[in-house]
């Protein structure tokens, strides 16, 4: 049975009623899924939690609800924050109540997202795995027991899942890094990393969208701008996209930026 856990006593009663309206049987009629948990994260937001694991199946439900909300273009919803297994919905509390929003979440979860066209977008990101761009390549190769060529091949072979963007503008949380490339972070973070750098930390791989400090082990760099505030959309990747890294040589790296800058907005 869907569990509602939140502790806001003033809302408990009406939540319970929502579940008594017959919605629950339809939820159970779907495949056996972990029950959805709805938590009032603040007076202006709800956190919908689908589970407690990093898994494509849970993520599918996060992205389904995310797209269902996006398709509604409801001006009372201010922001949507997908996470690994949850969706935070930020809303205008002067125009929408928690109860009303909970009932919308329930309806959308029941309807699924079949009405929304969201064929996964596969985005190819060219990466130059040059020692100059990837100062930790040798370290990674030793740690993994692979040759440099094998590191590049293993890193660029999977189709990664973009779980969500967060932390900073355009920063993607990717799933699917082969275990042989799981690496500890640098003991001492670098004070500055060039935007576009591709790195590995723990079981994650990712791209630094902007120049910033950071502790990921760097293995290459993409010439593409991952975040451009003037572009529409401002990021190259969206939650739920699939990503392929495509190895390029130095000459191609030098050639790409001009074409990337000419990208229409």
């Amino acid at each position: 049975m869907p569990k509602i856990d939140g502790g806001a006593d003033s809302l408990g009663g009406s939540w319970a009623n929502l579940f008594m309206t017959g919605l629950i049987s339809s939820i159970l009629a779907r495949k056996v899924q972990e029950p959805m948990k709805i938590i009032p994260a603040s007076d202006s937001s709800l956190l919908v939690v689908f589970g407690n694991a990093i898994s494509p199946a849970l993520h599918e439900r996060v992205i389904g609800l995310f797209h269902s909300f996006k398709a509604r273009h409801d001006p009372r919803i201010r922001n949507l924050h997908p996470g690994y297994a949850s969706l935070l919905i930020d809303f205008d509390p002067l125009r929408l109540t928690h109860d009303e929003l909970i009932s919308v979440v329930q309806q959308l979860a029941l309807a699924g997202d079949s009405a929304v066209d969201r064929r996964a977008n596969v985005v190819t990101i060219p990466v130059c795995y040059d020692i100059e761009f990837g100062p930790d390549l040798l370290d990674v190769s030793q740690h993994a027991g692979l040759s440099l060529e094998e590191v590049v091949r293993v890193h660029s072979s999977p189709t990664y899942l973009v779980y969500f963007l967060g932390f900073s503008p355009g920063f993607v949380y990717l799933g699917g890094l082969p275990e042989v490339l799981h690496m500890p972070r640098l003991a001492t973070p670098r004070p500055s990393i060039v935007g576009g750098s591709v790195g590995i930390a723990g079981s994650q791989t990712g791209i630094y969208p902007l120049d910033s400090p950071g502790g990921w082990k760097l293995i290459g760099r993409t010439p593409l701008r991952m975040f451009d505030p003037q572009a529409t959309p401002p990021t190259r990747l969206q939650p739920g996209d699939r990503l392929k890294f495509s190895p390029i040589d130095r000459a191609t790296f030098e050639d790409i930026p001009r074409r990337a800058e000419a990208r229409p907005t």
């Binding site: 939140g6 994260a41 603040s42 996470g83 935070l88 930020d90 932390f167 920063f171 505030p229």
Partner: protein, 310 residues
């Protein structure tokens, strides 16, 4: 009409009420840290309440006005002068003659002072907002805080009706009282003793606080057990607890997702108070229910409509 920045102050940025609809791309709203004072500044000069205005922090800016202008200052107490050491009013619209230099000094109570100009600052909208997001280098004036020599433009079309406040209307904002919070996303992670500590202790705002977050120093708060949280979305005003147990209030330029448990959340009606906290200020937290928090927002909106005479 242009305004030249003679001295930028400590951290002066162009802001509006924030940039919404982009959190799923990692982009936080930014916007005025004290949205209430920001709105009052705009309403006084007759602007739309979301018109771009300047947010100054701790030490104000010196600004040269090329032409006459109608301006208003709100928020933190700040000694401001125009020309021949003439003090200017606060919380009221006033005329500045052409060529005037408005010199804003050190803020004595509160951390942020707002300057609105009739017409609003003319900065390009980025993703629908004029707010400066310094960490992302975009929005506002060239995506950064103001520097000496910058020249800002003011929009001048439209008709405006200057308004004034009832005497003493803003006194209630000055009275010190605890920040009201609701329990947060990971409230289950914390036992009664953690909440007892959080609500009975006096915390000090650390020097390492900015628009991204305010670090509080004081009694450590710990979850029942240390476990890893799957990264999830962060609401404005969330109070997260990192491993050292020292709470952090995540603020307008916050990261959109995070991996530390969130024990509580500052209510929307008290966000403006967070924007006026200074380093070394004492902070106490008090719990309210979600229903009380929602009621408080409605009351604040009614209050805002009632404080103006005209």
């Amino acid at each position: 009409m242009t305004i030249r920045v003679a001295k930028p102050g400590l951290f002066t940025t162009v802001q509006d009420l924030g940039r919404y609809g982009y959190a799923h791309l990692g982009i936080s709203p930014a916007g005025a840290a004290d949205p209430l004072s920001f709105r009052i500044a705009n309403l006084l000069v007759g602007n739309d309440e979301n018109a771009p205005a300047l947010e100054m922090m701790l030490l104000g800016a010196n600004l040269e006005f090329e032409e006459s202008a109608i301006v208003a200052l709100t928020g933190a107490s700040c000694e401001c002068k125009a020309g021949f050491n003439a003090r200017v009013p606060v919380n009221a619209a006033f005329d500045l003659p052409a060529g005037a230099v408005l010199a804003c000094g050190t803020m004595t109570t509160g951390a942020r002072c707002y300057l609105s100009v009739q017409g609003g600052f003319d900065t390009p909208l980025v993703m629908g907002s004029a707010s400066t997001f310094v960490a992302g280098h975009f929005g506002g004036f060239k995506g950064r805080r103001l520097q000496s020599g910058d020249v800002l433009h003011v929009r001048q079309h439209g008709s405006f009706r200057v308004r004034s406040l009832r005497p003493g209307a803003l006194d209630s904002l000055r009275a010190p009282r605890p920040l009201r919070v609701t329990k947060g996303s990971q409230q289950d992670w914390f036992g009664p003793e953690a909440f007892e500590k959080l609500f009975s202790s006096a915390y000090i705002v650390s020097e390492q606080s900015d628009r991204r977050g305010l670090r509080l120093k004081g009694e450590a708060v710990r979850p029942r057990e240390q476990s890893e949280l799957l990264t999830d979305g962060i609401p404005l005003g969330a109070i997260q607890v990192p491993q050292d147990g020292q709470p952090i209030i995540l603020f307008v330029d916050q990261q959109t997702t995070g991996g530390y448990p969130k024990i509580a959340n500052v209510i929307a009606a008290d966000i403006h108070r967070v924007g006026q906290l200074r380093p070394r200020d004492e902070v106490r937290l008090v719990e309210v229910s979600i229903a009380e928090a929602v009621q408080a927002i409605g009351e604040q909106e009614r209050w805002l409509r009632e404080i103006f005479i005209s």
